[in-house]
């Protein structure tokens, strides 16, 4: 599909020579599941919009799979200017290996300057495979993207070690520039049913046989609001001391209609599941109210609540670092405060 690469440039012979000016457009890879295009991949249209307008180029959605063409219009309504569809029965079964090779083939043909992939669990397995097949750079779990005004390189911004420094990463000599971001780091753009755009149907001759085959899939029931979407969060840390402490938090949360979350230490103790961990290696949340109970305020934890509107801390150590990073702090033992708070909430509810 791609023309024979020139070998006269002085780079690793495993790479093909490139002229970065040949590359244009911002691609967003659409992950399709039982319910259509996944929301996290549509969220990537938000940074795509920012970068495409700074580069003065188009946003192209990519749909690869079987029976996926029907979603192209939805992609456009959320912000894609164009959608490339590769709808092929041979792709009816998802395989990271095959999907990645297919996406890479299309990228070799169309030469996008940028590819954004949502860092869902599938995206985290697919993204680096795509990047490597193209011998391109990839920057993981970005929290923001920008454009270097002088060179027009995309700046891929990620929180590195310790969550105290942001690294601005770029790939000045290679294209495409590939970046991933965790779900809910960016907002879903508004849907506009009047938006129109071109849908390009692609074909591919050779699709290798997958070497990995899905033989069974059990959906896990998800009936709770994911913490990334909750308006109120009650969160517990190591300071709760035991799983009973979490039971108390759950009671408070259910009275307030809040979600329950926790620190990494709480997850490590087995008090709550990993998908409720807040922080650099957990989730970034943006509630209106974040109530942190028995959490010390480590940088890696606080990184996950940068966008919380109001932060409340309950901690019995007056020197806990969280007090200088919270709006309202209470120096007390949670065992005394939480039961009293449950009562107060109940009586407040009666007055409403």
């Amino acid at each position: 599909m791609s023309s024979e690469p020139k070998k006269d440039c002085n780079i690793c012979p495993e790479w093909d020579c490139q002229n970065v000016n040949d590359f244009k457009n911002v691609w967003v890879v659409g992950e399709v599941d039982e319910n259509g295009i996944s929301e996290p991949s549509l969220q990537m249209l938000t940074p795509a919009n920012k970068i495409a307008s700074k580069l003065n180029t188009k946003i192209v959605g990519l749909l690869v799979g079987y029976n996926v063409k029907k979603y192209a219009k939805e992609f456009i309504e959320y912000g894609a200017d164009e959608v490339i569809v590769l709808d092929d029965e041979r792709l009816s079964m998802y395989s990271p290996h095959i999907y990645a090779r297919t996406i890479a083939e299309l990228a070799k043909k169309y030469k996008p300057a940028v590819i954004f992939i949502s860092a869902t669990m599938k995206g985290r397995e697919l993204g680096p495979y795509v990047a490597n097949t193209l011998r391109a750079g990839i920057t993981a779990d970005c929290t923001d993207f920008d454009v270097d005004e002088k060179t027009k390189d995309v700046l891929l911004i990620r929180p590195p070690f310790g969550a105290v420094l942001l690294a601005y990463i770029k790939t000045p000599t290679r294209r495409p520039q590939i970046g991933t971001a965790r779900p809910n780091v960016f907002k879903l753009p508004p849907r506009d049913p009047n938006r129109n755009g071109e849908i390009i149907e692609e074909k591919i001759d050779y699709i290798p046989k997958p070497k990995a085959r899905l033989v069974s899939r059990k959906l896990l029931p998800i009936n709770e609001v994911p913490i990334e979407k909750a308006d109120l969060i009650v969160s517990g840390g190591k300071g709760l001391g035991n799983v009973e402490g979490f039971k108390l938090l759950e009671e408070l949360a259910s009275k307030m209609n809040a979600a329950v979350a926790g620190s990494r230490k709480a997850v490590d103790m087995g008090w709550i599941p990993h998908e409720k961990q807040v922080g650099q290696t957990g989730k970034s949340v943006k509630p209106i109210l974040y109530l942190a109970v028995g959490i010390s305020g480590a940088a890696q934890h606080m990184f996950g609540i940068r966008e919380a509107e109001v932060v409340v801390a309950i901690n019995n150590d007056p020197n806990a670092p969280i007090f200088s990073q919270a709006d309202y702090g209470i120096v007390a033992d949670y065992k005394q405060v939480i039961p009293a708070l449950i009562k107060e909430i109940e009586s407040l509810k009666k007055q409403l």
Partner: protein, 282 residues
């Protein structure tokens, strides 16, 4: 089964310090450890060996101090270890790191014996890109399966891998050779055993491969083989917070103060009243 397991030697700290002059991380004086998320990968490899026989080879690309990490893994029961180390590998991003690891796996395959599986951890604690597994698979053109919880041999050249995603549990049949990335919560690692430590002292089953042995084109490794560069780093800006701290008389006083304060806070009060009206307290 011959299994290669990846290990990264990382600074083992939760509190990093920043050099106020240069703005860079101070890594000196911070003791290093085996990346904790590699432990389930090592344990999985050892369990497969316990069940089906064969050997487990630990592999790291790193400056020489990582030998201490390899020693630890041999203490757990890993048969031998390979340190791939050369100045021309320094400054590698994940593309260049995975290139060297993939070439090392090919060399093991050719010189030591056929490799059936390469197992990596979910991610590292220092830069946690979670790229290396998929990228190594891509260089080798092997299938890759991530977030593995358990692995069973189903015939001579296939394994059944169970993995846990956000919303599903999946079973995959994967042809070997393959690359597997483990879930960080998959397995509890076994402790180091004295007998293995003695074996380490007596046999020293660790070899170092420099680029004299690896014979890679230096344009494909280290900084030269890395498309990504860190253009700059900046402090994460501090979020402005009110920082009002209250020392209550007792729990009731605390609860009353907090409710009053939150109801006076415009943003918080709206959200709380909305939530209470929507009905909590099922």
């Amino acid at each position: 089964m011959r299994i290669v397991v990846g290990m990264k030697w990382v600074p083992g700290t939760t509190s990093v310090r920043i050099d106020p002059k240069t703005g860079t991380l101070i890594r000196e004086g911070v003791p290093s450890i085996v990346n904790p998320h590699d432990m389930p990968a090592v344990e999985l490899a050892l369990q497969l060996k316990d069940a089906y026989g064969g050997e487990v080879i630990a592999l790291t690309m790193s400056p020489p101090p990582a030998i201490r990490g390899l020693e630890y893994l041999i203490g757990m029961g890993v048969d031998r270890a390979i340190l791939v180390s050369d100045r021309v590998y320094a400054g590698a991003d994940t593309l260049a790191t995975s290139y060297v690891l993939a070439k090392a796996i090919e060399k093991i395959d050719k010189e030591i014996g056929k490799v059936d599986l390469a197992i990596f951890g979910q991610e590292t604690i220092d830069s946690s890109t979670a790229h290396i597994g998929a990228q190594t698979a891509s260089w080798l053109d092997w299938p890759y399966i991530y977030y593995a919880h358990s692995v069973k041999l189903i015939d001579n050249n296939k394994v059944l891998v169970e993995r846990v995603l956000e919303n599903a549990i999946e079973d995959w049949e994967v042809e070997m050779p393959a690359v597997i990335g483990t879930h960080m919560k998959a397995l509890k690692p076994r402790p180091v055993r004295l007998i293995n430590k003695i074996r380490y002292k007596v046999e020293k089953p660790i070899v170092t491969w420099t680029n004299n042995e690896m014979k890679l084109d230096p344009r494909c490794t280290g900084l030269k083989g890395s498309p990504t560069i860190v253009a700059k780093t900046v402090d994460v800006p501090e979020v402005p917070r009110k920082k009002i701290v209250y020392k209550p008389k007792d729990g009731e006083d605390a609860a009353k103060w907090l409710i009053k304060t939150l109801l006076e806070d415009e943003k918080a009060s709206k959200a709380i009243i909305k939530a209470l009206k929507e009905g909590g307290g099922k």
